[in-house]
């Protein structure tokens, strides 16, 4: 895009300084957490010294390791489930004509519109009613619901770029429609499915307002565990745990960037 301002405009320089400052501010809280995790005793910024001891404590902490593993487990199940459900729905929406399609797509996207706290309370009460209460199953159901629109979007976008005639040819030659889909079309939308599943994992991995309703102090995904901890205690341990989480999240970001591009999450 052509620049909007004339070159060597003093306003342009001021804008650059403003922009650079705020970009720094945006990443500052993350950098500060990592820096604070090296504190020997108290959690302060700038750090008073340098130690990696808190990382050892974090990796040895039963609570945090348990929460980490629980988060991964919920994320994997929720990602697989929401990608599978989204794949079916996307095929129906993109490939078949039917009435009320617009309304159905809107309904399927509606979990994005409703505050997560409200979804959390609703699922929690329903889970109590049907007798599953605060459980792994209830957490997974909640996470699938809030994550599902993301793979639906990526898979629909990918499917729209595929040509149905090859798959139809395979069916006419006697291949079972389901197998024809997986042999012909699925390889073309694989990245959308994997990317969508990854986005679902990230939604689940980061979720906290829904999970908190379905957690107990002994049974909490990582963001909720960190939240509980932050309310009562304040030592560099929590900065170390957060830093590990940040590194894990950044690895996920790279994977998404590779697969579907970074804008997928915010679009």
């Amino acid at each position: 895009m052509a620049a909007f301002r004339k070159p060597r405009d003093p306003g342009r320089l001021a804008l650059s300084a403003f922009g650079a400052f705020w970009v720094l501010v945006m990443v500052a809280p993350i950098l500060v957490i990592v820096a604070a995790s090296f504190n020997p005793r108290h959690i302060v910024f700038p750090p008073e010294g340098f130690t990696l001891a808190w990382y050892g404590k974090a990796l040895g902490s039963e609570n945090f390791v348990r929460a980490f593993l629980l988060s991964v487990k919920i994320g994997v199940v929720a990602a697989a489930a929401s990608a599978a459900v989204a794949l079916c729905a996307a095929v129906a929406i993109v490939r078949y004509p039917f009435r009320g399609k617009e309304a159905i797509v809107q309904a399927l996207m509606s979990p994005l519109l409703i505050p997560t706290v409200v979804i959390g309370l609703a699922i929690y009460q329903a889970a109590i009613m049907v007798g599953i209460g605060r459980s792994f199953l209830a957490l997974v159901i909640g996470h699938v619901i809030i994550a599902f629109p993301f793979p639906l979007r990526t898979i629909m976008a990918n499917l729209q770029g595929t040509d149905p005639s090859l798959e139809e040819a395979a069916i006419m030659l006697g291949e079972h429609p389901v197998r024809a889909f997986f042999k012909v079309t699925f390889p073309q939308v694989r990245m959308g499915v994997a990317g969508g599943a990854l986005l679902s994992f990230i939604v689940s991995w980061n979720n906290y307002p829904l999970s908190i309703f379905l957690s107990t102090p002994e049974f909490a995904p990582l963001p909720v565990e960190i939240f509980f901890y932050l309310q009562w205690q304040f030592e560099p341990l929590i900065a170390a745990v957060s830093s590990i989480t940040i590194v894990f999240s950044i690895l996920l970001i790279f994977a998404v960037e590779r697969m579907i591009g970074l804008s997928a999450f915010t679009r």
Partner: protein
């Protein structure tokens, strides 16, 4: 046509409905039913157990909407704090988006966008924690303010902290939404105006602002809806002392155990969300139609 072939093997049910069934079950059964059950809760007379299709009353809503305490202390605080933080996010995010959008080097631009979006990929609790570390009494921001001679600042566990935290969460959303809008401005129009001798401020007022205003409104309503439902920020940065709806829904249900009242508050929050979204959508449609 694959539709015909599939129908032959699976008689009676058309394949599209079969394929939509899992999503329908998920949305209807596992999402719609809990919401309906929550609605029943919100309509249950105080002090009684909710039952499917049980007795219905608007008492819980009346208690919230009819009480100046709840309206002023909670609803108005939620809206005021959200409006303020979103206004700050727009004031920072708009020029920031502008700067990023007109960065010439594609590599630098990608890096800037990555830095701005990066916080969005981390969970809110960790972001809130990072902001807390910056705003602490003995933290760098307070020290810096004292260094330049400002009176001692209290930035945490009050409304200021919540506003800062919410603005920090909102900026990346707003910037990303705006970059797309700004990139779509017709550069030729801008150049034509310049070559005809338009000044910078004139250009901004007559060309750039009108072209980006719908985007600003859209972005604003997006971040406003996120802010009014926020939970971690008022709890952690406000120390639980700034009463915002999202946080109080959790506390009313889980700490006070008044699920009926929490449900009514949930639907009031939902109504506020849908109302603000539709007001902006309708306004933008009208404006577009007029043009």
């Amino acid at each position: 046509m694959s539709a015909a072939a599939t129908t032959a093997r699976l008689p009676r049910i058309a394949p599209q409905w079969l394929l939509l069934a899992p999503a329908g079950l998920l949305l209807g059964g596992l999402f719609g039913f809990p919401l309906a059950w929550l609605a029943q809760f919100s309509l249950t007379p105080p002090g009684t157990q909710p039952a499917l299709l049980g007795p219905v009353t608007l008492d819980n809503y009346a208690r919230f909407l009819g009480d100046a305490f709840y309206l002023e202390r909670i609803l108005w605080t939620t809206i005021r704090v959200s409006l303020l933080s979103c206004a700050i996010a727009v004031a920072i995010g708009y020029p920031l988006a502008f700067w990023v959008a007109q960065t010439r080097s594609q590599k630098l631009k990608a890096a800037l966008i990555a830095a701005i979006v990066c916080p969005l990929w981390l969970n809110t609790v960790i972001r809130a924690f990072g902001v807390m570390l910056l705003l602490f009494d003995n933290g760098p921001v307070v020290a810096l303010a004292e260094g330049v001679g400002l009176p001692p600042l209290q930035l945490l566990y009050n409304e200021t902290g919540v506003v800062i935290g919410l603005a920090y969460l909102a900026i990346p959303f707003f910037v990303i939404a705006m970059i797309g809008v700004i990139e779509q401005i017709d550069a030729r129009q801008v150049e034509a105006a310049y070559s005809l001798g338009a000044s910078g401020p004139y250009m901004f007022r007559r060309v750039i602002l009108p072209a980006t205003l719908p985007g600003v409104l859209n972005g604003f309503v997006l971040i406003f809806c996120i802010s009014i439902a926020s939970f971690a920020i008022p709890q952690l940065l406000g120390g639980g002392k700034v009463p915002m709806l999202g946080m109080l829904i959790y506390r009313t249900a889980n700490v006070s155990g008044n699920v009926a009242f929490a449900s009514a508050m949930s639907f009031i929050l939902l109504a506020a969300t849908i109302l603000s979204l539709s007001v902006v959508t309708i306004a933008l449609k009208r404006a577009a139609a007029r043009r």
